[in-house]
């Protein structure tokens, strides 16, 4: 049977306000579907900008230094104030018997359990985990790779491996070079377990940062049929020689019968960047929130954060609010 050629277009428009006195607006346009010969494609562009009444952070303009100086609204895309191509790739998936084999080529998010439209950015958390934000000396959701990725295994246990060159879209832009990553993921019962390793170049200038960047992480997800999901990730590694970064986040997502359009969220997280003084950083954060799915294509997200540490601009308490309008069109090519 010949596979249908399908194209879907999605548009998201988001506006938000944070108690850290930051306003944000963003839009994402995605085109994806299935083309000839069973090749699936995905392309995403995003525009996002943030405004603050305060003076820019010292050092703005240096790679890795966010001029606003906070990770608010940074869950899924960068806020560079211009439209950017985020991802563009084709993927061919094969299913010999019950096995899983796929080849992806193009520009994609760094394969460390990070995928566009995956759960990390769409469960209702307005901010990314501390260990996954530009400039916090961990990984970044805004790191992209130009290259190829191979997936092999069975749905219950498979390996993803990639070879690529960095093409980052956030404030932290890694130096050119060859990147490599490998991820193993297993699924059994209600558990999904993953272990990942990635090597790349630092995003700081060679004057400050020598050697290679390397990170290893383990992540787990668990879902209970009563509407409770838990997930977490532990990350350790170094963004250049002579320093180290460790951290974790743990999320709880509760949407039980009777909660209607409300989903409750809780996240606890910690980041520890060890470096010669005074560059060392340490931060802890607790997030309580809710996501509300309104009738029609509107989703509201409200997060309360209690945090402490020595990241720039950090306030002990903050409230983030955002609203997203989504629109989708589907087309089948005869």
């Amino acid at each position: 049977m010949r596979a249908q050629t399908t194209v879907a277009a999605e548009l998201d428009l988001t506006a938000g306000y944070s108690g850290e006195e930051i306003r944000a607006a963003a839009s994402q346009l995605r085109l994806f579907g299935q083309g000839p010969a069973g090749i699936e494609f995905f392309a995403e562009t995003a525009w996002g900008d943030r405004w603050s009444g305060d003076a820019p952070v010292l050092g703005a303009g240096i790679s890795g230094i966010d001029p606003i100086g906070t990770d608010v609204f940074g869950a899924a895309y960068p806020y560079r104030g211009r439209a950017q191509l985020i991802e563009a790739y084709g993927e061919r998936q094969f299913r010999p018997r019950q096995a899983l084999l796929a080849v992806r080529a193009g520009r994609f998010r760094t394969p460390f359990g990070i995928y566009s439209r995956s759960d990390y950015g769409y469960s209702g958390f307005v901010r990314p985990p501390l260990i996954r934000y530009d400039g916090y000396f961990g990984l970044s959701n805004n790191w992209l790779e130009d290259g190829a990725m191979l997936t092999a295994g069975v749905p219950q246990l498979y390996v993803e491996a990639s070879v690529s060159r960095p093409h980052d879209v956030g404030f932290a832009v890694r130096r050119k070079g060859t990147d490599a990553s490998v991820r193993v993921q297993g699924y059994r019962g209600q558990f999904i377990l993953g272990a990942s390793y990635a090597r790349s170049n630092p995003y700081l200038s060679p004057r400050f940062a020598v050697g290679r960047q390397a990170f290893a992480g383990v992540d787990a997800r668990w879902a209970h049929p009563a509407g409770i999901q838990a997930r977490g990730e532990f990350l350790t590694g170094h963004s250049y020689e002579g320093v180290s970064t460790r951290g974790f986040y743990m999320d709880g997502v509760v949407h039980r019968p009777g909660m209607g359009p409300f989903t409750a969220l809780v996240r606890g997280e910690w980041l520890d960047y060890t470096a010669p003084s005074p560059r060392a950083r340490e931060a802890r954060r607790l997030t309580l929130g809710t996501r509300v799915r309104l009738p029609g294509p509107v989703t509201l997200q409200l997060n309360y954060l209690r945090q402490r540490g020595d990241l720039p601009r950090i306030k002990n308490h903050a409230i983030d609010f955002s609203a997203t309008y989504s629109f989708r069109l589907d087309h089948v090519v005869d």
């Binding site: 399908t6 879907a8 999605e10 994806f32 579907g33 299935q34 699936e40 995905f42 993927e91 299913r95 899983l100 995928y115 566009s116 439209r117 995956s118 759960d119 769409y122 469960s123 069975v154 749905p155 219950q156 498979y158 993921q185 699924y187 209600q190 999904i192 997800r221 879902a223 209970h224 049929p225 009563a226 509407g227 999901q229 997502v253 949407h255 039980r256 019968p257 009777g258 909660m259 989903t263 996501r291 799915r293 294509p297 989703t299 989504s326 989708r328 589907d330």
Partner: protein, 188 residues
């Protein structure tokens, strides 16, 4: 001899009584086609039975496909994840209530729709994903296509109470005589 056998078979096929009639119709909303409208006939005397065929409600390209699925009570519906990301399927409000948890690409889970009613399906990860499964306690049902047309085959001639439902609209009920010559037009 073979020719005579074929001839006899042809004569038999053209003379046996028709087992059921075909009910065709159109579903309209304000004069426009009501794609995804579900139409079914009450048939109290029909024994409850699940469909033996495999019914699939796919998760691909961040959407459920089909958007509306009508099945007979007792049917097992498969929910494969053919996307590159984790998905979740849950139905908490009406009809069959369940939560399939979170599962990765390539995996599939299944649910038996063992009670009549409308199940509203969502994915807890992707708020824009939504679908409907209408479990119906009769074998006589159909889902309207993009032109609003539907076709229920094999209906024993007689007078029936029909029901119609569409996403976002009220349920309608009426009466129809099925004899192969009447079309049913449903208007919202």
């Amino acid at each position: 001899m073979r020719f005579i056998r074929v001839l006899l078979a042809a004569v038999w096929l053209t003379t046996v009584p028709v087992l059921g009639a075909e009910l065709t119709g159109t579903a309209l909303v304000s004069g426009k086609p009501a794609q995804h409208a579900v139409v079914w006939l009450e048939a109290a005397s029909e024994p409850p039975a699940g469909q033996t065929s495999r019914v699939v409600l796919d998760q691909r390209n961040l959407t459920f496909s089909p958007h509306v699925l009508a099945v007979r009570v007792g049917t097992t519906v498969e929910f494969p994840n053919n996307d590159k990301v984790f998905h979740n399927v849950f139905s908490f409000r009406d009809g069959k209530k369940f939560d399939l948890g979170m599962y990765p690409k390539g995996m599939s889970k299944r649910i038996v729709f063992d009670r009549p009613g409308l199940a509203r399906l969502f994915c807890n990860i992707h708020p824009n994903m939504a679908a409907y499964v209408m479990a119906i306690d009769t074998p006589y049902f159909a889902v309207a296509n993009e032109r609003g047309a539907f076709n229920i085959a094999g209906v024993p001639p007689g007078t029936y109470t029909y029901h119609a439902w569409r996403p976002g609209g009220p349920a309608l009920t009426g009466s129809i005589t099925v004899d192969g010559s009447h079309a049913l037009e449903i208007r919202w």
